[in-house]
Amino acid sequence: MPNHSNEELVSQIESSNKRKYFLEKLSEKVFLFCSLLSVISLLLIIGFVFYKGTHPFFAEGYSFIEFIFGLDWVPSEDKFGILPMIVASIFATIGALIIGVPIGLFTAIFLAEIAPKSIARIISPAVQLLAGIPSVLYGVFGLAIIVPFLQNHLGLAKGQSLIAVILVLAIMMLPTIVTVAETSIRAVPKTYREGSLALGASPIGTIFKVVVPAAKSGIMAAIVLGLGRAIGETMAVILVAGNSLVLPTSLTDSIRPLTTNIALEMGYAFGTHQEMLFATGIVLFSFILILNLVLAKIGSKGGK
């Protein structure tokens, strides 16, 4: 066996190993630091938002109860009540869920189970594309088409309303829900269907009794993602909400959800006013947390 470079190899190995172990240790530290940056970011964000947002209540004597249940938001008069916005956010989100979730899920089922392959192959990527387009464009569409439509056909003085927000959010959720739910329905093994069909169940019965329950966790994820998109949406909503500060009592009322309140006023707010916008942010935060918990509960119940 030829023996070239053997000495070279051995000597090089021994001299360079120390450096390698050093680099090995160093790089692990660097990688760890990078992964800690997301923890640091989260702490910074939560810290800032909560520090700023709780300051008025702890240090300036504002009442948290009055903040949550107050009906008036007049920063110039030192009145900071966000109940109308909380109600608006809840109504808008629930309304969007009621419309968007069933339509989205049924569409996903259709694309995964019923649609001819050639059609699904065109539509699925198109829907996926729409899940990616900026949500502002949905708002532009809402303002240009939905708002005038409501104005003319419902005889409203102003088409910007709770129902307009609900429609825009529901439409906006659709592509997200369809894409995620479709993927999880497609992932259900063929054998499930065959088993059910072999027992004499109809194809449609099989879909609803076997396939959908099997895809449950993916479907829940789809709803959570769609919801996340709806609840956090700000700019599209500004365009169609009307932004009035009244407690909404009907679908045709103009509303101002929590998110839009922050975006509309952050530009010029300072002092307590600005802090109250952070407090609004905290409420939004909690709102999302609660909704996710509720959905997780529903999801785990449905599984039994």
């Binding site: 990688f31 800032f48 049924f106 569409t107 019923i114 829907v127 464009l137 449609i204 700000t234 999302i288």
Partner: protein, 274 residues
Amino acid sequence: MRKAKDYFFQSLLWLSAIITIATLCIIVGFIFYKGIHLINLDFIFGDYSPSGGGGILPMIVTTIYTIVISLLIATPIGILAAVYLQEYAKQGRLIRIIRFATESLTGIPSIIYGLFGAVFFVTVLKMGMSIIAASLTLTIIVLPVIIRTTEEALKTVPLTYREGSLALGTTKLQTLYKVILPSAMPGILSGIILSIGRIVGESAAIFLTAGTVAAMPENIFSSARTLTVHSFLVTQEAGDIELAAAVGIVLIVIILILNLSATFISKKLNKADY
């Protein structure tokens, strides 16, 4: 009876699909119908003029700035963080905390990021409303996206590659950059493309941190508006739906190109793996 029920559900599925597809077609159709006549080279490469009729070059430049800066920061950090989580970390409390933080960041709505950026970067770090403040805010927004997709990509690299390399007397670091990262590259690239989409589509967080100045940014410390924010502002301030739709077309085309390249890359990935 069962027939009738089946028929009912079948119709429901068809109806839903038709509603979804029709709605989405109408939206895209509407945007193109309203905006297409404004699209030409002058529009895309022309400077903005406040009196109307100008182009959107400043917004395109601003959008590119935000993409480049935030990815320049988020990509290396995100990849290395994912590498730590997948390749180095032992299961334990620290890992659970890091995972929890990353997931939580994904769930925070962009308006909250905007609030944070507007105080932390704009005010505390004295960057002012600027491209850099917006880009740093966006960095945090896309960081979890890059971490997650990179982790997924790393998971697809077979354990046998790692063993094969380490058994040859290489270090983990060498194995990482010679074998693991190259194999995971297509997945990582799709994550980056996904992030670009997220940045391009973002509005609230940028609105609160970059401001609304409609002019060519002089540098990254200038206040400026991205395409998406522009589309919002011309609608809100001037009710100029046609202009907003024209900007919308540009945005849709960008997203389309991003999607196509992601598909292309994942196809390549499948081929390379055989």
